[in-house]
């Protein structure tokens, strides 16, 4: 019997939701197990880093790496997995685009420490987690908390990415069956497990090309269940977000928040969304009004959406053109 292709899965700084999405393949997980040899997966298997190091370079057919790169250990593992894997996939939003923890890049490491351990929180500023600590019995070590979250492709060459927070189980299954079929994979660098259009293409809501004169936040009103959310003034990220999920959030009357990342060829999800808003917001007051009217209109927009970064870059700040680094 021919040797089964080897499969690995790893989590860097992550929440575990990507693993749950794979476990939610349910009984199909047994088919994966039958077709591939699962050689490394800290969540599921007992194999350790030393076992991985002992494997020949390039011997793993497919590695799904989720989680963002935050610590030196994450980075070392990324390099190791790259060396051992024929195909390395950035799996899930953290790895592919930086995801919600990427909003961390708006603050410095010191600001994190002050907020979380400082006197403001009942702690004393004197005691902070420290990389090297002397205790009576000896020395203890903690990894350094990096001031910045990075995507996998910022650290190593990545063959493909699978978007989503987490990737939908059905889409993960599509990718695995494609790999198992032996059919040629798309060109290197492609996105797997997602479409080439936007979430809007899968959304059942009706569009009327209606202009809006103000933006509304989701807690401020009950949206109509049939009509396009954007045309009701909600910043629904669907138009700037890759399809693949099946437009799940708009189906429960909530806006797309962009977890599948930018659309095909779209470098910057937030910029794409802001451009889309430009085509839907009624700009008559801006164009026709006086200087004061213009200023008032822009001021109102700012009041309507006070958190621009968290609205437009909720899932893509580290991977965006801005990167969110405070220099």
């Amino acid at each position: 019997m021919a040797e089964k292709p080897k499969l690995a899965m790893y989590w860097a700084t992550s929440c575990g939701g990507c693993e749950i999405s794979v476990v939610n393949l349910h009984e199909r997980l047994l088919e994966v197990d039958a077709a591939m040899e699962f050689v490394f997966c800290p969540c599921l298997l007992d194999a350790k880093r030393a076992d991985l190091e002992a494997m020949p370079d390039g011997s793993i057919a497919l590695t799904l790496c989720n989680g963002a790169i935050r610590t030196s250990e994450n980075e070392e593992m990324a390099h190791l997995l790259r060396r051992k894997s024929k195909t390395l996939v950035a799996f899930g939003s953290c790895s592919a685009a930086g995801c919600i923890p990427g909003l961390s890049n708006l603050s410095t490491a010191e600001e994190h420490f002050q907020t979380i351990y400082g006197s403001a929180r009942g702690g004393t500023d004197a005691v902070r987690p420290t990389p090297i600590v002397q205790v009576p019995e000896g020395e203890l070590h903690l990894p350094v908390f990096s001031g910045r979250v990075r995507t996998l492709s910022e650290v190593v060459d990545v063959d493909y990415s699978i978007p989503g927070c987490p990737p939908e189980s059905g889409k993960v299954w599509e990718v695995l069956t494609l790999v198992l079929s032996g059919a040629p994979l798309p060109e290197r660098g492609a996105t797997l497990g997602g479409g080439t259009s936007s979430v809007c293409g899968q959304c059942a809501r009706v569009k009327h090309d209606k202009r809006i004169n103000r933006l509304r936040r989701i807690h401020e009103f009950v949206p109509d269940t049939e009509q396009c959310l954007l045309e009701q003034g909600v910043v629904c990220m669907g138009i700037a977000t890759r399809d693949g999920c099946g437009a799940l959030c708009p189906a429960v009357n909530m806006p797309c928040i962009g977890c599948y990342g930018p659309t095909e060829g779209g470098l910057d999800q937030g910029a794409r969304m802001i451009a889309a808003l430009g085509s839907v917001i009624d700009i008559a007051p801006l164009v026709q009004g006086s200087e004061d009217d213009r200023a008032a209109s822009l001021g109102e927009l700012d009041e309507q959406i006070p958190d621009l970064a968290g609205t437009f870059y909720k899932f893509s700040l580290p991977g965006s053109l801005l990167k969110g680094v405070r220099r």
Partner: protein, 497 residues
Amino acid sequence: MKRIKIDPVTRLEGHGKIEIFLDDDGNVAETYFQVPELRGFEQFCVGRHAEDMPVITNRICGVCPEAHHMASVKALDMLFGVDPPPAAKKVRELLYMAFYVTDHTTHFYALGGPDFIVGPDADPRERNILGVVRKVGVDIGREVIATRARNHDVIRMIGGRAVHPAAGVPGGWSKPVSEPERIVIEEAARRNVDFALFSLKIFHDVVLASPVYRQLIESGVYLHRTYSMGTVDARNAVNFYDGMIRVVDPDGAEFVRYHPREYAEHIEEHVESWSYMKFPFLRRIGWKGFVDGPESGVYAATPLTRLNAADRMATPGAQEHFEELFATMGGGTVNGRRRPIHHRLATHWARLVELLYAAERMLELATDPEITSPDVRIVPTTVKGVGIGSVEAPRGTLTHHYESDERGVLTKVNLIVGTTNNAAPIAMSVKRAAKELIRNGTVIEQGLLNRIEMAFRLYDPCFSCATHALPGEMPLTVSIRDPRGGVIRTLARGVPV
């Protein structure tokens, strides 16, 4: 001084790392349980729109996003000064019960159960979900998968997504439950009740019937007399979604019963320089270090402590098993209250009692005439500026505390997550197990790994992958070092050294 380092390769929220220092006689001088990872939500959530928090804080944990989603929407109800319609509260609780069923099921069969069903001293390669299936039958493996599947379907149906639900809004829920959905949910709940009863039967037949396991559960290695915390309803029955926080002392007397919004008056967090995780304690008693007893502010918040803190279960089947648990493991009553159970391994049994409660409560809600009401949302008209919400996460009381400006933009965020409550008890359990198993320089190799692993596995901690691992094996390596840090020898589970 020798040191032993236990570094689980895997985790959910950062590695749990254990350093054990031995004195000159080769006995345990001190242990340090370290969490070497920080993700920073309390910092980067500042500046965000408050109403985004249910979907942002989901991403703290992909295993229990439902718990964060619920604590978050409840905090938003308060922050925006709006009381959701009764149907909305029921829909939230319904989703939450489906989540509890899948979560407790995964823990019992994939993680906690293998130690008992397959055996604490069985070959580590057998002590996993596959070993469980071999011991109790392949049909059960299928039923575990089916239970996870049907409850994740319910979570998706109600919350929009199977992982990281989306439908929570201040003042209610974004979508009502339809009658066709309700029928599917009711059927799932009925099967859940059967499955929970069946799981309790396995626990009886395999674990309680065995003198070896009984002895292990009742042994001193896992005994800690701390305060117990849990959420209770008006009749002091266990509630996962809402209620008052009740803390009982090590003898079972009520120490305090407070509304979750008063948490800061009762709970404080201690910081150590050697871990990124903070150590909560009872403020009125104070931080006295990693010690148990009534003089120490250390408390635990687990399935077992929830039962300790309550007077009863709110559903009939769960009540029956609750009484049996206390009749078997408890120490009678004092001043009319049951004495708490402090044998921490009984947490696994308590988890199954909770599994049955969640299933029964899910069925009650699924057959409630109001559950399909379209009236699931009230639009808030004000911003109050402070919101505190709390639920019982499977791993302990979860509190979200937000403050905002008048636009609903967050200015302060404090989170006390389930596992964090147990940071000090876990450290203490690890130390106790190490002291029992390392004597005069003799390390009981496999025993050390197993028993220390069991010491923190019973808390179902969220920083360890063991939490929800399939097949549930937590890889451990132990390095024994000389005083200069050189490795004398290395032990690793299941790997010949």
